[in-house]
Structures are given as C-alpha cells and as structure tokens.
Subunit: 172 residues, 2 copies
C-alpha cells in the first residue's frame, strides 16, 4: 500500500520519464527535476530497480485503463487506432516501445515479461471483441493476431515518421 507521498512522487517521476525516456534515467537528475532527493526516492521505493518497476506498472496501468474503456463492440480496431494515433499519447507510446524493446534485450530485472504481458493484454481485448462463434477457433486467433500486428506495426511507423495521414489511410 503506497503512501500519499509515494504516489505523489511516482506521478511526478512518471511525467518525467514520459519526456526523458526510461533507458538512461538516473536518480540525481530525476530527483532534482521533481523536487525531491535520491535519499527519499530510495527510501520510498527501496532501490532504483524498485522505482523502475513502479514506473513500468504505472505505465501499464494507463494502458489497461485505455483497454478497459475502449469497449468490446464492433469497430474496436478503429477505436484503438484512433487512440494510438492521437498526438497526445505519443510520449506514452514511445515509452511503451522503449520498455518493450528493453524487456527483450534484458529479460531479467524490472523489465521482465513486459513485452509478453502487453501482447497478452491486447490479444485478450481483441478476443473479447470477436463474435462468440469465432473466438475460440484457429481462424479467430489468427484474425486477432493479425489485427494486433497491424495496429502495432502502424504505430511503429507513425512514431518514426509522424506521417499520420499515410498510416491512417493504410488502416482504413
């Protein structure tokens, strides 16, 4: 159960990494930027690894919140893309990609399992949006895997080029 001060600092740290990236964050600059100290960060989160873990969980919470209120009716893919392509969400998604890549290179530590977890999160949402008589068939699995691939590939493209017009047109 996190204390009030802890969630407050976590939120500030989260805003910080959204713009500075997670890869080479270090305690002193971070602490200075959010008006704290390394001593306090270490006291509240135990270690840097604990902080990273908390930040990753915080980011995943954002993601899960999205998936929760995107609904499950028809047109999910379009709605998901609408959310993914919104300029306001770009920092979060860049962070997401960073964590994803990192968890592949370094399967230990706080990153462990991040990539695999998000694949499953999304597949489940796409699954529950499928008609019931398809959901459990091989064809259904193939379809939602394809949908997920399309969304994420498009996201990669968008993050690199910023060319929303071309990428959105490709998904229509």
């Amino acid at each position: 159960m996190p204390s009030a001060r802890e969630t407050e600092l976590l939120e500030a740290a989260y805003r910080y990494v959204l713009t500075h990236g997670l890869a080479d964050v270090s305690l002193r600059p971070l602490a200075a930027a959010i008006g704290s100290s390394t001593r306090v960060l270490l006291y509240l989160f135990g270690s840097k690894e604990g902080l990273i873990r908390a930040l990753l969980a915080r980011a995943r919470a954002d993601e899960l919140a999205l998936l929760a209120d995107i609904g499950t009716g028809p047109g999910v893919v379009a709605r998901l893309w609408e959310w993914l392509s919104a300029p306001a969400h770009r920092p979060l998604l860049t962070l997401w990609l960073e964590a994803y890549a990192r968890s592949l290179v370094e399967p230990d530590g706080p990153w462990a399992g991040f990539a695999r977890a998000t694949v499953e999160d999304w597949l489940e949402v796409l699954s529950s949006a499928q008609p019931e008589d398809v959901r459990d068939t091989p064809a259904g699995l193939a379809q939602r895997t394809r949908e997920l691939a399309l969304l994420r590939g498009a996201l990669l493209d968008l993050l690199a080029t910023g060319d929303e017009e071309r990428v959105s047109a490709a998904l229509a």
Copy 2:
C-alpha cells in the same frame, strides 16, 4: 576507408552487441570481451559515439543486404516474413528494435534518424515489388504501408512471445 584491424574489431564488437544489446554497452567490458582495449577502440573509432555509429551502420548493412537479395517479384511479403521469423535472425532483429526505440527517444547522437531510415528502406522495397500501374497511386502507398505494418507488428509479437506458429498462421 577503414583499416583491416578496424573492420576486424568492428565485426567482433558487432557480434558482442548482438548478444548483449546496444543500450548499455560500455567500453571496458566490450574491449575485454573482444580481446582489445578501450585505448584501441577510441583510437580507431574516435569516441564511443563513433563506435556506436559504426555498429549501427554495420547492422543496417545486414538489413540492406537482405532487402537486396529478397528480390522484387510477387510473394515478397511471404519471403520477407520467412526471413524475419527465422530463429537465427532474432538477435539482429532485437538489436534493430532496440535501435529503433532508442532513436525515437533520443533523436540526437548516433541514433539519429535510424527509425525513419528503416521505414523508408522497407517501403521502397515493397514499392518496387508492386505492379507498375499501382505503385504511384494512393492505393499503392496505402497497401505497402499496410504490408509493412503487418510485417513489423508480427515481428514485435514474435520477438516477445516466440510463438512462431500463431504469428505465422496469422500472416498466411
């Protein structure tokens, strides 16, 4: 024009980062692993940034070599996927993803433009594989953007889950 020793050490360093990742590589461990010294690395590549730049170029050379002999006939997408999903290429592709993510977070330095460059490389290959009467239409652009997204999204999935059966089935 790189010297013999330089390409030799670059090749060794390349093998090293393929298994250790590019993100938190540091000179002393790398030098020790490839039987060299930080002094020599700096002498040959000028700085750590120069080394990274050379390694990134080396990785991109692998990628371009692939794209060159994948041909342009019909069935490119299938052939590309065959290459992407080959277990032997997984380290290279993980490295690729790492560099991609990094270049989004840190647009300066040696990573600059890496993500954007690879999008363009691949789109061009897919373009030259399209029938001429489609290539320059908006529909053609949309189609190859979609193909690229599908391939890359599937790659992301595969790298995280290793579930080649499901992902390959989705692309069929």
